[in-house]
């Protein structure tokens, strides 16, 4: 007995955010907060978008003048590791780290 879908074309009733694409990542972007000048260029360029704002005091500011601005954080549920943020960062405050090496780090 052939089983066919009821609807004529796929109709998804769950949002696409259910589809966690972080698992596609080979390299993980990691923010070096001591260098981050909170310019949000990474946030602008992220195509996902997987870069979100965090409170100003989530990390110590590299300069006192920056302390009042929001920090950024990466949502690893959706970040596919494309590396655009690291490429665009004007102060090289994002490094791309091989996922496997992080797993090893965590295992140690």
């Amino acid at each position: 007995m052939v089983v066919l879908p009821e609807e004529p074309t796929p109709i998804a009733k769950v949002p696409s955010t259910e589809n966690k694409t972080g698992g596609w990542r080979t390299f993980r972007p990691r923010i070096i907060y001591e260098k981050c000048i909170r310019c949000y260029i990474c946030w602008k360029f992220c195509p996902e978008p997987a870069i979100e704002f965090d409170s100003p005091d989530a990390h110590p500011a590299p300069k006192p003048a920056l302390a009042k601005f929001d920090t950024v954080k990466i949502n690893y549920d959706y970040c596919k590791g494309c590396g655009i943020c690291a490429n665009e960062c004007p102060v090289n405050a994002i490094e791309m780290v091989l996922e496997e090496s992080i797993e090893e780090e965590e295992a140690d």
Binding site: V3, L4, P8, K13, S16
Partner: protein, 396 residues
């Protein structure tokens, strides 16, 4: 009913107007342009309650129709040749999304060599997009086919889009008397559009979402295949209903003309049909038993009708106004394919009229004579023949 003198393109615009689409998204291209110009005028005059979206390409025109139709309204567009082929990707989307959009296609040759005249390669290249395809013979059929196409496509067991073809200039820019039905009659015939599903902000959903290989991708495609097969019966049924309401009976998928007791039957698409009917009459007067089968619907393909036609004659000549490089043209290839295992009747392909070259009664008569010779001899001299090439003495 009002009798008007309309070109094929004006007839298409009237067919659209009477069907009450709420959105028209289109981009101009010769020889289609006067369809959307006429519609733009209807809207500007307040004679048609629709939103006209001006887009930057035909790809966008179809994208806009898909989006608009998904909100639960009828849409319409029109194009030709390069515009149609630019739409190709979205045509497949529209049918997969099961949106019964109706589109006028004015068949025009593809470049190079640059040409604006008629040739059916543009729509033949859309054969596999999941759209129904009807090739029309006169301006009345253009208008009526648009109304019929909405009715057929919108049935919930069909839900497929349709392209309604006209031959460039021969129909698109030539005026004929056309019966334009009363709006009320068309309203009653078509009814309000009842979408099977639509976008609703209160009930969010995503259409056409990702399906993994183990998901029901094949099953959705199979449902589409069943719908296209079911469309054959629906077309016959709606053509009959249309006849009962409007008094013009269209013969379902294939129109036969004097095929009874014929020795040779010619299969054609589009306006070649009306020329060939005249030639059939003339030849019958001389005692030559020829007949004509004008294939109206190329998709769904009328395999039952063609198998019946093959029983009536000793030979079938298939005329194509397009070509598939590497093998014979589409109507020929598909005709032979449906006859395999069902008929041993010889079939020959005549490739004619490319780039709008005139298909005159004289050349059609020569083709019929060639077909009668094959019918007598029971053997095809060559399977595929290009008719009327410069310098070819066979046809001059």
């Amino acid at each position: 009913m009002v009798k008007m003198i309309l070109t094929g393109n004006e007839s298409a615009a009237w067919g659209a107007r009477l069907s009450r689409p709420k959105v028209i998204a289109a981009y101009p291209i010769t020889p289609q342009t006067s369809i959307i110009e006429t519609i733009a005028e209807f809207i500007a005059n307040g004679e048609m309650d629709a939103r006209y979206i001006r887009v930057e390409s035909e790809h966008s025109a179809m994208a806009a129709c898909i989006a608009a139709q998904n909100t639960g309204v009828r849409t319409f567009t029109a194009t030709s040749a390069h515009g149609l082929t630019l739409m190709h990707e979205l045509l497949i989307w529209a049918s997969g999304a099961r949106l019964p959009i109706v589109m006028s296609v004015v068949n025009r040759a593809m470049a190079p060599p640059w040409s604006v005249w008629t040739d059916q390669l543009d729509s033949m290249a859309q054969r596999d997009t999941g759209w129904m395809q009807i090739y029309t013979e006169n301006n009345q059929e253009v208008l009526d086919s648009i109304i019929i196409s909405y009715k057929v496509g919108e049935k919930h067991h069909i839900l497929l889009p349709t392209m309604v073809m006209e031959d460039a200039f021969i129909l698109s820019h030539t005026s004929e008397p056309v019966d334009v039905p009363e709006q009320k009659m068309v309203d009653d015939f078509l009814g309000e559009y009842e979408p099977a599903f639509k976008l609703d902000p209160d009930d969010p959903a995503g259409f056409g979402s990702l399906i993994m290989p183990e998901g029901p991708y094949m099953e959705f495609r199979y449902k589409m295949a069943l719908a296209m097969d079911a469309a054959r019966e629906e077309i016959r049924k709606v053509s009959q209903e249309f006849g009962e309401v409007f008094g013009r009976y269209y013969p379902g998928l294939v129109e036969e003309y004097r095929t009874e007791d014929a020795d040779a039957i010619m299969l054609v698409l589009g306006t070649i049909g009306s020329t060939a009917k005249d030639v059939v009459d003339r030849m019958r007067e001389k005692g030559k038993k020829v007949g004509l089968a004008r294939v109206r619907y190329f998709r769904p393909f009328p395999f039952e009708e063609i198998r019946e036609i093959a029983k009536k004659a000793d030979m079938l000549g298939v005329v194509d106004r397009s070509y598939t490089f590497g093998y014979g043209a589409n109507l020929y290839a598909e005709t032979k394919s449906v006859l395999y295992g069902h008929s041993d009747v010889p079939v020959k392909n005549y490739v004619m009229g490319l780039g709008g070259r005139d298909i005159t009664p004289e050349i059609v008569e020569k083709v019929f004579d060639d077909m009668l010779k094959i019918a007598r001899e029971g053997q095809v001299d060559r399977e595929i023949e290009w008719v009327g090439l410069h310098g070819d003495e066979r046809w001059s």
